[in-house]
């Protein structure tokens, strides 16, 4: 008995040992690959250079710069005829299958929709409408109206001509009180003349919209704002010959949305496996020209298998790639990594008030809040080293933020503005001057009134390095003598985090500061996040100057881009002075592409369209 028992133990130990060895083996491989990689234009800090003398650069220590990434694939070969391509829709869950721009809700559905339908107006790199799309427009500032004209050769997938009526029909459906989607509510609808009459059922059509002929119509607005021309106008038509007979409330559930979606895009739906994949075939009558690819398959893949799918050529393109997996996979042989600055930033916010439910606006009360003193906030900005956080945790693929308009809006991001950087001595000096001194001798500063100052920091869990980053910030503030504690001593789950921070209007008074992130829209106007009426204004900050600048940014004068730039520069600078929040990290977005893919550019307004997308060989390139 004893002997056989020993045998069992030996077996278990061997198993354990085997695991250890396997893990070691894997590690060596990982370290070898990039040994001779110095040519990618990577920047390395002094410290790393010292390390380098001893051993080859570990992929984890490599620092990358998003500017070194191209947005277009380098493969410039001629696409073969009749190729087919696999597109990986990276998602934890199945896609919903609401396949119409007028009704969809989630990003996964959008990833499918972009192949089969398209906006009638194109956008340039600043997300401003251009005249290159399926329709053109003319804004008449005197009469506050915009006239749209659709090109002659634009057809629906079923061969019907796209008419002005189809486009207007989408307005009528979305503005209908029975409409089930989430599109109504933006300035593009609410500013239309007489839209309220239509919603109340007084008129059958929207009074502010005049149809001139088959292909053109005019929308009269109460006033024009620059936001209208940077994403405000609704640019997705709805085929009236199909949806005309369906009651508005039932449209979202109809077959024309779920099973036989239709659009004007370069590809048509061939078959749908609900929640899993969609097969597309080319639309030969696409108005820009016949697509190069015969077939495209859009398939849901789980984020944890993205790397394997790419390596084996299972997918040629993916909808997103987790940045933290990049360093280990930067040398993947069969894939080219494209990258650009993401339209998002991470920030630290200071609670300066709460939400006034009745007035539906923020209740700014700096004198009553712990973080009310701007000097304290400034010192906290000086105390943290965002550059190092970006380098060490994200290998430079996230980097220190400066202003509240991210560089993803190159026209409006003002990088000449001086912002606090990591200077703990400066932070201590500011705190000393502002009267935050340690009078009790416990190692932490008290308020100028001599009261104990404990700052509760709320941060989100999820994301791989959320925890060490949150603790790093806490440490940095403790280093300059501020007693910052994690709220409840731990991180909070996404939904409960935003509930406590104020999503819903019930701000938790225990939260003093928090770390959140915003994904920003195509329109640069930040009033949805920082306006005094915005629920998303979580710091609950309000000032006349802020309101004035935000208002001016969307005024009629702001149609002049230079004027708008000035206004937003001023606003960015003002926010750096006031610091209701400060950006910590800007982010980048990575999109790997199989080496056989050609004519692919991820940049907004690049002028490379999906019908040009092609492959240069029959089979995907596979990693050795």
């Amino acid at each position: 008995m004893s002997k056989s028992l020993m045998g069992k133990y030996l077996f278990v130990l061997m198993l354990a040992l085997f695991l250890v060895l396997a893990a070691c083996g894997g590690d060596d491989e990982g370290a070898e690959d990039p040994s001779d990689d110095g040519s990618e234009g990577t920047e390395e800090t002094e410290e790393q250079k010292e390390e380098e003398e001893e051993e080859a650069v570990d992929p984890e220590d490599q620092i990358y710069d998003i500017d070194d990434f191209s947005t277009a694939v380098s493969n410039d070969g001629d696409p073969i005829d009749g190729g087919s391509l696999n597109y990986g829709l990276v998602s934890d869950t199945v896609f919903e299958g609401t396949l119409n721009f007028n009704f969809y809700g989630g990003t996964p559905d959008f990833e499918i929709l972009q192949w089969i339908d398209e906006a009638l107006l194109s956008m340039d790199e600043n997300y401003t409408y251009t005249q290159d799309g399926a329709a053109t427009f003319e804004a008449d500032q005197e009469n506050n109206s915009i006239t749209f004209t659709i090109r002659d050769d634009v057809q629906w997938h079923d061969g019907e001509e796209l008419t002005a009526e189809d486009w207007v029909f989408s307005y009528e459906v979305i503005a209908d009180p029975e409409y089930t989607g989430v599109r109504y509510g933006t300035a593009g609808f609410t500013l239309i003349e007489g839209i309220e009459q239509y919603r109340e059922g007084e008129t059958d059509s929207i009074p502010g919209i005049e149809i001139h002929d088959e292909k053109s119509f005019t929308i009269n607005y109460e006033r024009l704002t620059p936001s209208l021309l940077t994403g405000g106008v609704w640019t997705y038509a709805l085929p009236k010959h199909i949806f005309g007979d369906i009651p508005v409330a039932e449209m979202e559930e109809s077959d024309a949305v779920r099973q036989e979606p239709i659009g004007i895009g370069p590809f048509m739906v061939d078959s749908i496996v609900p929640g899993e994949s969609v097969s597309l075939v080319k639309n030969e009558n696409y108005w820009r020209g016949e697509p190069n690819l015969d077939e495209v398959t859009v398939r849901v893949i789980n984020p944890s298998v993205v790397v394997q799918e790419l390596e084996t050529g299972g997918v040629d393109l993916v909808s997103s790639f987790p940045v933290d997996q990049y360093p280990e996979n930067s040398q993947m042989e069969n894939v080219e990594f494209l990258g650009q600055i993401d339209m998002a930033y991470t920030y630290i916010g200071f609670k300066l008030g709460d939400w006034d439910e009745e007035a539906s606006k923020v209740n700014y009360m700096p004198d009553e809040m712990k973080m009310g003193d701007v000097e304290l906030r400034r010192a906290m900005w000086y105390a943290v080293d965002n550059d190092t956080v970006g380098e060490r945790f994200y290998n430079g693929l996230r980097w220190a933020g400066t202003t509240l308009i991210a560089p993803s809006h190159p026209d409006y991001h003002d990088d000449s503005i001086e912002v606090p950087t990591f200077e703990p001595e400066e932070a201590e000096r500011i705190l000393d001057e502002a009267g935050y001194e340690d009078v009790t001798g416990d190692g932490f500063r008290e308020t100028p009134d001599g009261e104990e100052l404990v700052i509760n920091f709320a941060s989100m869990s999820g994301g791989d390095v959320a925890e060490p980053i949150a603790n790093y910030y806490v440490q940095s503030w403790q280093n300059v003598g501020l007693n910052v504690q994690l709220l409840d001593g731990r991180l909070h789950e996404f939904n409960s985090f935003y509930d406590r921070v104020g999503n819903g209007g019930n701000d938790d008074p225990d939260v003093d500061i928090y770390m959140g992130a915003w994904s920003v829209g195509s329109d640069v106007d930040p009033s949805g996040l920082y306006g005094s009426n915005a629920m998303f204004n979580f710091p609950r900050y309000e000032s006349e100057e802020n309101d004035r600048l935000l208002e001016e940014g969307i005024s009629e004068e702001a149609f002049d881009v230079e004027y708008r730039q000035e206004v937003y520069s001023e606003w960015q600078e003002f926010m750096v002075e006031e610091i209701p929040v400060f950006p910590t990290l800007y982010r980048s977005e990575l999109r790997p592409a199989n080496l056989r893919v050609t004519n692919y550019n991820i940049e907004q307004g690049s002028g490379v369209y999906l019908h040009e997308l092609g492959v240069t060989q029959e089979e995907p390139v596979v990693a050795e």
Binding site: M6, L19, A23, Q325, E467, P468, N471, G489
Partner: protein, 306 residues
Amino acid sequence: MSNKQTEQELEHKVDEVEVEKSPSGLTIFWKEILKDKLAFISLMFLVLTSLGVFGISLILDQEEIIRVDLFALHEPPSIEFWLGTDYGGRDIFGQLIIGTRNSLAIGFLVTLLSGFIGIVFGVVSGYFGGHVDNVMMRILDFFMVLPNIMIIIVFVTIVPSYNVWSFSLVMTAFLWMGIARLIRSRALQEKELDYVQASRTLGSSHMKIIFTQVLPNITSLIVVTMTLNLAANIGIESGLSFLGFGFPESTPSLGTLLSYATNPTTLEHRWWIWVPAAVLILILMLAVRNVGEALKRAADARQRRA
């Protein structure tokens, strides 16, 4: 002469009687463990590990260990960091020591607390029987049908801040039922025995009979069950921490170290973060189980080896 011999014989006989006195429960346990090499080694390992981690963690600075160091992320094992560092640049060896201490402390605490509640509940219920037993067992049934892991998770999420004590109490609240049932069934048998009847006839109070007469007679069962429970409780704590419902990462435990392995890169390339914790859990569990099995045999005369 003959007298003397008789005296000697008598002495000799007295000696013999003394020698034949039935050995105490603890002696039997000890003998059984000495006899079973594996159990002995396991016990030594357990004692040394416990003493080691509690001792070393006294001199370790926990603040320093959980300090995020941006310039030492994912360091492989070296002289400075014996077992490397994790993704926050924190020393794995220190975390392993403190984590083992926390996991063991919770394991012991939960076992003792749940054992205490379970034993008292079970022995009282079994001893009195009848309606008392009926009512108490229905209460127990109620606790048994609750999905206890789910409830522990909910509790842990609601309790604003928790430490070793509050975490142990929450776990205890849902882990005492098994042992209570076991003790109750044994107490049911025990109370029918003559010595209980005799004691009762002599006028001893119920309290006295339960705690000074019945309880000592079922000690062996208690020791065995609690030892085996210890392994289970350490496992439950590690499991909860692994799922993210145990301690926050700033309070290391074996489970949190193990949960780093959910990241594919860590699993594949950074073995030093999770392998030591995994191996330690494995060995700890086996050791506790070995000791428990030996005790179990000792408690049952038919299975004894010694």
